[in-house]
């Protein structure tokens, strides 16, 4: 460990802020009615969907220790509950935690 944690945090924060700032600078002359804005909008939604599905199918960290079948079943149940409760987000959020706990503990 040749670098101090403080410097690593600084480098990480700068590397992250650059993308946010570049986004602000790019959008300065962009109208929210333009085609370019539209394109960025769909790309952004698509990127987020790719990221979230990847986090469930190929997770990092502790979630890897849960069976892929249990991760997918929990996700499908929670999405169904979200639709059935007319877009209540709190219920499926809590349910995902409880269901996966049950799966992991094998109750």
């Amino acid at each position: 460990m040749s670098y101090s944690i403080a410097i690593i945090i600084l480098v990480t924060s700068v590397a992250t802020y650059i993308s946010r700032l570049l986004g602000v600078l790019t959008s300065e002359r962009l109208s929210s009615k333009s085609k370019v804005f539209d394109w960025f909008n769909y790309v952004a939604y698509s990127i987020l969907a790719a990221l979230m599905v990847r986090m469930i199918i190929f997770p990092n960290g502790a979630l890897q220790d849960a069976e892929i079948s249990s991760r997918i079943i929990v996700t499908i149940i929670c999405l169904s509950v979200f639709i059935l409760t007319k877009k209540n987000l709190v219920i499926p959020t809590i349910l995902s935690f409880l269901l996966l706990t049950i799966f992991v503990l094998g109750v």
């Binding site: 945090i9 993308s19 939604y45 502790a62 959020t93």
Partner: protein
């Protein structure tokens, strides 16, 4: 400087049935525990969530630190993993523009950009008067960032009580919450195609190029959606 009414309106998005607070808490509590086990002290853990505020990037930083990666390597891998903020910012900021708002507010408030705040803002900005959208955004961002920092602190302090089983269960909360939010955003054919294609392509490209998979699938899925002609 900041319109209080709209700031509080944004802040209030943390309450109610669409609140991202639980999802943020679950993932940042887990992150706090990971920091503790990786040898960070409390101040460093708080500083990381406050100044970086991007979960995947913070995880990459921690892993890089543990294997002793060089600063340039850390910079490049974090930049790549958090590059999604670039298209996300471009897809949001034009909607917040107003000539009465000073530029510095955009430069500072872009730090609040994260998946949670972005999705909430995208869902609600059209209902907000254009003059005050930036203040509304700052309200949302202050709330989500504060939740992240407090949860990191809490996770750090209780890390010894978090079993691996609990850490596994905490891991599912964040992607499930955001997937629900995205299903909720599928109100027209183009957004639906963007989200469904991204969700299908993401894991497929991951098999070939883990680092680039998210950006490539987003680029393809988003472009396909953009090209679709909507019936009017």
């Amino acid at each position: 400087m900041i319109n209080r009414k709209f700031f509080y309106l944004g802040l209030r998005s943390l309450a109610g049935t669409s609140s991202p607070a639980l999802a943020l808490a679950a993932s940042f509590i887990a992150l706090g525990a990971i920091f503790k086990h990786s040898g960070f002290n409390l101040e460093q853990s708080v500083a990381s969530s406050l100044f970086t505020y991007a979960l995947p990037g913070q995880l990459v930083m921690t892993e890089s630190y543990l294997i002793g990666a060089s600063l340039i390597n850390i910079f490049i891998s974090v930049w790549l993993v958090n590059f999604r903020f670039y298209p996300m910012t471009v897809a949001l900021m034009p909607a917040l523009h107003h000539k009465n708002q000073p530029r510095w507010k955009y430069y500072i408030s872009c730090h609040f950009l994260a998946v949670s705040s972005w999705l909430i803002m995208k869902e609600g900005y059209k209902k907000i008067d254009k003059r005050f959208r930036l203040d509304y955004w700052i309200g949302i961002g202050s709330g989500t960032l504060t939740s992240a920092v407090l949860s990191t602190t809490f996770g750090y302090l209780i890390s010894d009580y978090l079993s691996n089983d609990l850490m596994i269960a905490l891991g599912i909360v964040n992607p499930v919450y955001f997937l629900c939010m995205m299903v909720g955003a599928m109100t027209n054919i183009k957004t639906t195609v963007a989200i469904v294609m991204g969700g299908i392509l993401g894991p497929i490209f991951y098999l070939f190029t883990p680092e680039w998979s998210i950006l490539i699938s987003g680029f393809i899925g988003g472009s396909l959606a953009f090209l679709i002609k909507e019936k009017k």
